[in-house]
Symmetry: C2
Subunit: 682 residues, 2 copies
């Protein structure tokens, strides 16, 4: 169960894409909601991202390594801006405690957390060429291809060409039009629906039963074997300390719990937050930024009293409407979502508690604010059999995209007390909250009282074990012991299985009054966990379109908040006469805290703007001869390509208000007249 448990909460955040849940109508939905004037074209987007160096395969000149990507200048800035907004939205607004813990982690930590034993995927090897495949992906790909072949044979439209190309690139299975028997088809569909449920041996059985081989080679595959996804290393010069690269940042929070608690004056609730790199040695990563071996996560651990999961600011978000896909709907075989306010969802018990609901709403607000299309965002609840045994509830923010379908980009789980408990047990350091009770709890119960001196004399080295054994007795056992002692010596069995006969003179059992003025408890943890790379990729897809009149060049309609560059400064040419103005405008924008770039390259203004449409730069200002003469400047808006004109300082003021979100383009147009290409403003 732990594997599942781990996967279905934080650890899973940056992994699962649930591609088998992709909507059949995905392509159509996409066309309807996408901003593009043309149908979304993944090939064009990829070409743009590569051409403009948003990101690229790492070590490309060395042939590359699957699942490792480098972010270039626009990708780095976009990522930095997403993280900056994340910090503002969560850490600053919620007064969370930021942490920065190490990636290199000694083995005992992940032994306690369960990762060493069970953070693994099942893999199979091609018995002839040695190729390694992920077992569940193999079953899924082969069966899906057979179902698609069946559909084709039954006369459904063939798979669109673009999708075929995509499949080929991802080395997926080629579809062949072969009709299946109805019973076989039903069985395949049933297998796919519960794919996450199979163990390794069960997957092996499925492969034998359904004659599944390596589609690339046609060769048989061996028995599924577990492959631990953590990168291993060792710490220190003698190799004496085995270590792993963390697969999530969460353990760093839990291990520092006592220090954080003290920092918060001993009280819960409070939250810690961390942005950092994590690592997973994926078996064969082939989904671009959606499944990588090294990635940036942003994780929050909100520590809360298990008996009180209300949230003081819940009322601020209660009216937020969300698209929810709850577990009951899924269990009934449907993916029909419901629109519901967070307040209603918590009230109806759809979302387990206020704190979880609060974070779901805050996650929603964050994603929409940075530019995720709210029509392609839903919250899917984990099903009963999918959720960790210790978790009370878990919701994934899934963002629809062309690679992974509805892809988990944020997980929001109630991890209960699992993590703090396992580290407490392993280290002997209690990770608990001690709370003074207003009204002490008074209770009567049986208690055993030894004559320790006499006991020691009689039993020597075993005296301690006898006391330990009795200390572990429950109320009814003490009752029985009391009865025995009333009649003579009692037999006490120690943990090592020995039995001792203890005289009533050495031990009495009596009812006593106990007063507790301290309540001690292990806090529960609500964990929103963000895969930044996944969010970034989905954002790029949602922002991408191309103009009717120029399909070869794309536009990235990124919000100014996260756009890598906010303003492009375009002098008519690199001639020295524009230099003072370029410097003046650059300096003024920088002083206003706005990230601008100058493009004085030797090409037309139109080309320079087009290049920056691809970089997602929302605004551009042009400095020309009129600027030199009249101190005017035009302002261009990326999405409409409309231009306005005004005095330089007024344009800067308008840009500043636009970038900081105080006004929108419509309001900007009220302040600056339209530019028709000829006029100058006094």
């Amino acid at each position: 169960m732990l594997k599942r448990a781990l996967q279905s909460t934080a650890i899973c955040t940056a992994r699962r894409t649930h591609p088998h849940r992709t909507l059949a109508s995905f392509a159509e939905e996409m066309a309807a909601v996408n901003k593009t004037a043309h149908a979304f074209d993944k090939t064009r987007l990829d070409a743009l991202l590569n051409r403009r160096f948003f990101y690229a395969p790492a070590f490309e000149i060395y042939g590359g390594v699957a699942g490792l990507y480098d972010y270039g200048p626009p990708g780095s800035s976009l990522q930095a801006n997403i993280i900056a907004e994340w910090r503002r939205h969560f850490i600053v607004e919620e007064a969370m405690y930021e942490l920065d813990t190490t990636i290199m982690t000694p083995a005992p930590v992940f032994e306690a957390s369960g990762h060493v034993a069970r953070f693994a995927d099942w893999m199979v090897k091609d018995t002839l060429n040695g190729e390694v495949l992920r077992a569940d992906h193999l079953v899924k790909n082969v069966l899906e291809a057979r179902i698609a072949g069946d559909k084709e044979a039954r006369g459904a439209a063939p798979v669109p060409e673009a999708d075929q190309k995509d499949k080929k690139k991802k080395k997926q299975v080629k579809t062949t039009a072969v009709k299946l028997e109805d019973a076989v088809l039903a069985e395949y569909e049933s297998i796919l629906a519960q794919l996450d449920n199979y163990s390794g041996p069960e997957l092996g059985q499925l492969m034998r039963t359904h004659n599944i081989t390596n589609p690339g080679s046609g060769n048989p595959v061996g028995e599924p074997q577990q492959f631990n996804l953590m990168f291993a290393s060792s710490i220190g010069p003698t190799g004496q300390h085995p270590g792993y690269l963390r697969p999530e940042t969460a353990q760093g929070h839990f291990l520092n719990f006592n220090r954080l608690l003290e920092f918060n004056n001993g009280r819960v609730p409070f939250a810690s937050a961390q942005v950092g790199r994590s690592f997973r040695n994926e078996i064969s990563p082939r989904a671009g930024l959606l499944r990588v071996r090294e990635f940036t996560m942003a994780e929050i651990e909100h520590f809360v009293d298990p008996e009180d999961k209300s949230h003081p600011r819940f009322k601020d978000v209660a009216d937020v409407e969300l698209v929810l896909l709850d577990k009951y709907t899924q269990a009934a075989g449907s993916t029909t979502t419901k629109v519901m306010t967070v307040g209603q969802a918590v009230k109806d018990g759809v979302i387990a508690n206020e704190t979880l609901g609060y974070f779901v709403a805050r996650i929603y607000a964050f994603l929409v604010r940075i530019g995720i299309d709210k029509k392609r965002l839903r919250f899917r609840q984990h099903m009963a059999n999918e959720m960790a045994h210790y978790a009370a509830d878990c919701w994934d923010a899934e963002i629809q995209n062309s690679v992974g379908g509805w892809t988990e980009c944020v997980g929001c789980a109630d991890r209960a007390a699992y993590d703090l408990s396992v580290h407490t047990v392993k280290t002997g350091t209690p990770l608990v909250v001690r709370q003074a009770l207003k009204d002490p709890i008074v209770e009567e119960r049986l208690a055993a009282d030894f004559d320790k001196k006499a006991l020691g004399k009689t039993f020597k080295g075993d005296a301690g074990k006898i006391q330990e054994a009795v200390a572990a007795y429950k109320e009814e056992e003490l009752e029985r012991l009391k009865g025995q002692l009333a009649q003579g010596p009692a037999t006490i069995r120690t943990v090592d299985g020995k039995e001792f006969s203890v005289e009533p003179t050495l031990l009495t059992v009596e009812r006593k009054t106990f007063k507790t003025s301290i309540r001690e408890f292990t806090p529960n943890v609500i964990e929103p966990s963000f895969g930044i790379g996944r969010i970034l990729y989905c954002l790029l897809e949602h922002s991408f379109w191309s103009r009717e009149e120029d399909v070869d060049r794309g536009v990235l309609s990124l919000p100014a908040l996260v756009a890598p560059t906010k303003v492009l400064i375009v002098p008519l040419s690199a001639k020295t006469e524009f230099e003072p103005l370029v410097k003046e405008v650059s300096t003024k924008l920088r002083q206003a805290g706005i990230h601008a770039r100058v493009d004085d390259s030797n090409t037309s203004i139109g080309r320079r703007y087009a290049r920056n449409d691809e970089l997602g730069t929302p605004y551009g200002v042009t400095l020309d001869f009129a600027s030199v003469q009249n101190r005017t400047m035009t302002l261009r808006e990326r999405d409409t390509t409309k231009q306005r004109i005004g005095p330089i300082d007024e344009v800067i003021a308008v840009v500043e208000a636009l970038v900081n979100g105080r006004i929108d383009w419509e309001q900007a147009c009220e302040r600056l007249p339209a530019y028709d290409g000829t006029q100058a403003v006094e």
Copy 2:
């Protein structure tokens, strides 16, 4: 040489502390320049940093691992603010290209860079208990202890108690008062002065000659062995790709050079910049944040034409005065610094070129701006024998502190074309700039011309090798070949050592005119490389002091720019009547972009302020009954503890101006009257 080469440039940045260069008068200098009212007390600072969770040993509840530290909330915020200012100061102001490349790196990259073979330290093993020690540190510690013992025996003052304690903690060698012969003393001093020069076998020889044993156990040590400092792992499920965790971010820049060049329209100069985690498996790290196994670096690679290292903004920094310790002074056995403007230093050839000088000045400005004491900051030039063979010049920003003395915190090296060249050779991908020449270069030279068809017929598979061999001929070899061919067949020797007799009909050598309109060159790299953790620790030391009247509590006088929290909001109590005001002030400060915290804990206002003096919070505002009645608020300044009073909105406006550096405290006092503890303002 490569080991030295690597160590003395970027790779070295976060490593070398040169503690043997510590000034004798360090303690006195410190007392003179430190802001503390009492002598600097490292024990008190450590207690504060631990108590307030600036940072702590990672995995503490698991017993910890040497050289791994977690940053708690104030440490994380301080680090984030230092990095934010670094980004603003370098990336934004200089329009650099930010990168975010992977940590996990396949082995061939570090084979090419030289790290796999030679990025190592020499270690020795205690022959009886197996303890591992770094060889150079062992020699240094033992000889320094003998010299100190000699001084004591000669009647000098004994080592101060605080230093002794510190030594004990660092497991250094206990000093015993034994007088040395003058010749021996001179030899020890000479060894220490050139410690960086010894190879492993030489260190082994020194240990035998001078009877150096493990001071902890008294046992002999074995021969020095090389220990590679990179953490090793392997990528993928079959372990087929050995990989390392990067020990510097620099290679990520170099491997992406062609993409970056294209991003900059094919022109140099330009600079890339990256902030990220790097790893070094130190042999026995024992110097707190100054020598760690995992650390955050910020690195710039400025690519420049080797024939033109001028910098367009050099004139902006030419008048900046720096404290310099040049290589000639050091070679003469002195550590006397010179104060010089950057302009003069470049003019006099002290600093090799404008670009290097520009960055040295910018590094200085950055460090001083974030709060490093300029009296404890100097730039030390690498000595001829210390510098990489490929480097033109290298300057370290050294910051004085109590742990490492003058500690290298930033390296600024001219790495020449080394890195781009080795990757070009290894991958066959040219990492070069191609520049159109205004005036094409026309030259005459000999050229060989084969009758390829006939050559192929005659020599079959060897024809290609023959052409290759001739293509590699220099002018004089072609001249000789021409002479041979004039008399008959010529003998051509191929790379595999075979010789072929080639008839004159197959090959002619003639003088031809060549016109070159493209200049191709490998750019040079100027590399400023920052160890963020080292800078952060030095900043904490420079900011720490304690008040005359309250020595048990410290104050961290961090500049508002980097202080973890800018403003503490202190309501008189947690009573509900203050809630609306607390919320109002919090919201207004947040909207002004100022990071504030509320402290409504159940303790006196004085205690709450004292706690925040330790956190370095520069300003505090108090909300009391007068605030509720008159809408006034007091403003407290951390260093002076002086308080002013004014209307809430005016105080917020003043705080905003203070935090953003538009006014200083004196100007703030002009806007707000002093608070004497009683008055209220209408």
